[in-house]
Amino acid sequence: MMIPLEHLLIFSSLLFGIGIYGALMRRNLIGILIAIELLLNAANINLAAFSRFTSLEPDTGQIFALFIIAIAAASAAVGLALVLALFRVRKTVFSDEINLLKW
């Protein structure tokens, strides 16, 4: 009736890989936050797909996805507040210029 489950899982794996690459190599802190939100979205696709295709009780996966969205909103708010506070003190948003605690 639908496209196979494997294709959705492969799609979310690719999204996860792109997000990991972005989180590892970006210099801009806001770019790193965008990449982390991509990772959480890939996890959400997996939860919705499993709740549609394999679960005996389909509510569970969607409720977990709702919790993940709430946590993603909280992490975005706290992360961007940290970026703003850091920019006020150090005048930079680049992660490799923030090396005050580096030995």
């Binding site: 639908m2 494997e6 294709h7 492969i10 799609f11 794996s13 690719l14 999204l15 996860f16 890989g17 792109i18 990991i20 690459y21 972005g22 590892l24 190599m25 970006r26 210099r27 801009n28 806001i30 770019g31 965008i34 990449a35 939100e37 991509l38 979205n41 959400n44 696709i45 919705a48 709740s51 549609r52 295709f53 394999t54 679960s55 005996l56 509510d59 969607q62 409720i63 996805a65 709702l66 969205i69 946590i71 993603a72 909280a74 992490s75 975005a76 708010a77 706290v78 961007l80 507040a81 940290l82 970026v83 703003l84 506070a85 920019f87 006020r88 005048k91 948003v93 680049f94 992660s95």
Partner: protein
Amino acid sequence: MDALFPVVKCGLYVIMAVSLLAALAAVLLRNIFHAALAFMITLLGVAGIFIALRADFLAAVQVLIYVGAVVTLIIFSIMMTEGLNNKIARLQNRLSLPAFAVCMVLTGIMIELVQRTPWPKQNSLHYVPVTAARLGESLMGAYVFPFEIISVFLIAALIGAVVVAKKDKDS
């Protein structure tokens, strides 16, 4: 319905391809504002996939919270930092090649595992769609404790964000 089905299937693959391309753009674009807009396209594509998986409420929440709130927050903080006027800054840090190798290997392993695992298939004929009413009932029934925890967590995180981001009195 059956005559329309190949069209729907093709549309779903098109949505998946567009979201992947937009995710690549969100990661690789030098201008961080354009990256945020590409990220918004990815979020809308994921909402479309949620609708195709019959998770209507999840799609609505995705559009409201992600596209409505998180992207707005990101764009505001881009405008409050220097991001836009700094065109010559390098995009990548010096570990970008090892990072590329690591994520290629990771994605390859995950795709291989997805194809090898025998997933249990539910008979999709007796699938009952999850309505918003059913979600609300189980959110207030079986999952009421995590629901309360997540609301306390969210309010704590938001108060913490306000405290961290507000100006000091003496400056």
